[in-house]
């Protein structure tokens, strides 16, 4: 009787995450991540769920980097990893005010939310690095 109740499996199509501009990511966003987020004690820690590569901090293992590591720049595989890691956190974001990725970087009294490390990454929304990130995210918002 219950089988007749229409409880078959639900469709689960592939999800295509937002696709913000990759060129702008490499040019503008990656340097911000390297400066503000990717130190070894923060997202350069390979055990973090949001793991980021940066020139002076965490680098990809050789089997993942695809090409020999260059000490002055990230490989394409590393950049793609960071790009995917960031855009994966834009799912369901409809405005800058519900973008947890950005809100976690702001102080609580500026409308930010608690960041795991307890650090405030940007002092305010006027920080030039915050503006770079916000502009890049804003590009894919509906």
């Amino acid at each position: 009787m219950l089988a007749v109740a229409g409880c078959e499996s639900i469709d689960n199509p592939r999800y295509v995450p937002p696709k913000p501009n990759y060129g702008q990511f490499v040019t503008f966003v990656q340097p911000v991540l390297g400066r503000r987020c990717a130190s070894s004690a923060c997202h350069g820690d390979p055990h973090r769920s949001l793991k980021l590569y940066a020139v002076d901090f965490l680098r990809a293992p050789p089997e993942f980097a695809e090409t020999p590591l260059d000490e002055t720049r990230l490989t394409e595989a590393e950049l793609t990893w960071n790009y995917d890691a960031i855009r994966n956190r834009l799912r369901g974001v409809t405005s800058l005010n519900n973008c947890k990725l950005l809100l976690k970087c702001l102080p609580l009294d500026q409308g930010g939310i608690r960041h795991g490390s307890g650090f405030e990454i940007f002092a305010s929304r006027d920080d030039p690095d915050y503006k770079l990130l916000a502009d890049w995210v804003d590009w894919v918002l509906p």
Partner: protein
């Protein structure tokens, strides 16, 4: 850190007892034979080998306000201590939470017709919940047949404890329970029940992350995992059918058999079978031994590992294929208008290809062992 918290738990148990004593105190000026009151209290302790412990003291008081009508108040607290906030990936340090629940219910019961209306509010660090329920029971055919219908609606607001409530999500649930109980003979009773539940809104965990690992690399290490937020469908319809029979074999021996079939729109199918035997040592002392077996299929969108991002992805082990078995021993004793119940339960759960993160590698989750101890005391005045 745990020991002082345990101290706090037992302080709370004492507090619940104090509330109960206060309720008795309020009633004290009335003569006992006029009270029409019922009071109960108890504590349950749940523990498993996965680092989860829940201590749940509760009190309940019911007072007759006029012939056939009474008011009931309930208070319950759950002290939760878990290995991690999401219990799966160990994404946080040891996690503690306190869930508080208060309920008020009006009950009418006279001449084969009963009705109830109730409201319950519960709160914890990351959830606020309101539940309203209405129900009626009617006896038919010289009280040989009883039917009941209960409807409940739950309005929840939930999110991450790290976020302001403005960013939390809504969830609404509707539940309908229909039950039919028939006296088959002088010694046997049969019950049939159907439950329909519709849940709309946010049903993921705000904490759980799902690893996304390309097929080209070793699937079972976290080095190449991108973590994305868990995504469950926003709608779920659940159906459950229960059949339960009770048979008196003699004045001392009683048998109970129970079966529940369950399906939902997430593709989960489950079966529960339970068999229990009760022996009355004395008119006031009885012991029940029961065993429950549970089998569940996985949700259709659940995978041990995802290689591409899907619309729905989960790491909720309640949605994984699993089997479980538990054995429960209950001792119930009555003395005049008092009743005491002691229960001990030991259970075991096995998950079908569910992986947890251990030292950077996803390894099959070990079997879980569960123990529950419960004690309850009630009195009719």
């Amino acid at each position: 850190m745990i020991a002082p918290r345990l101290g706090l738990h037992w302080a709370s148990v004492a507090w619940h007892w104090a509330v109960l004593c206060a309720l008795f105190g309020l009633a004290a000026p009335v003569r006992a034979d006029e009270l029409g009151a019922h009071a109960a209290t108890g504590t349950a302790v749940y523990r498993n080998n996965d680092g989860l412990q829940v201590i749940s003291p509760w009190v309940q008081a019911r007072q007759r306000v006029k012939s056939g009508a009474s008011l009931q108040a309930d208070l319950k607290t759950d002290f939760i201590s878990a290995a991690s906030v999401d219990m799966i990936s160990g994404a946080s340090a040891r996690f503690h939470d306190v869930r508080k629940e208060a309920g008020l219910q009006a009950v009418y019961d006279e001449q084969g017709l009963a009705g109830h209306a109730g409201y319950t509010y519960s709160t914890e660090n990351d959830t606020r919940s309101h539940t309203v329920s209405l129900g009626a029971t009617r006896e038919w055919l010289s009280r040989n047949l009883a039917t009941s219908l209960t409807y409940g609606v739950g309005l929840d607001r939930l999110g991450s404890v790290r976020e302001p409530e403005a960013l939390w999500h809504d969830r609404t649930s509707h539940r309908l329970d229909a039950t039919l109980t028939q006296l088959i003979s002088r010694t046997a009773v049969l019950s049939l029940a159907y439950t329909l539940q519709q849940i709309n809104g946010f049903q993921s965990s705000p904490y759980r992350m799902v690893p996304l690992v390309p097929k080209t690399v070793d699937l079972w290490t976290k080095d190449h995992a991108q973590w994305v937020a868990e995504q469950h469908p926003d709608q779920r319809t659940r159906h459950g059918v229960t059949i339960e029979g009770r048979q008196a074999l003699s004045n001392r021996w009683f048998l109970r058999a129970f079966y529940r079939g369950y399906v939902d729109t997430w593709g989960v199918r489950a079966n529960t079978a339970e068999l229990g035997a009760t022996f009355k040592f004395h008119y006031a002392v009885e012991v029940e031994l029961s065993n429950r077996f549970y089998w569940q299929s996985r949700a259709s969108f659940e995978r041990a590992m995802y290689s591409v991002e899907r619309e729905y992805m989960t790491r909720d082990r309640r949605l994984v294929g699993q089997i479980a078995d538990s054995t429960q021993l209950t001792l119930r004793t009555r003395w005049q208008n008092w009743e005491a119940v002691l229960q001990a339960m030991a259970g075991w759960e096995r998950y079908d290809d569910f992986r947890t993160l251990v030292n950077g590698a996803f390894v099959p989750m070990a079997d879980t062992w569960t123990g529950i101890l419960q004690a309850a005391l009630s009195v009719d005045l």
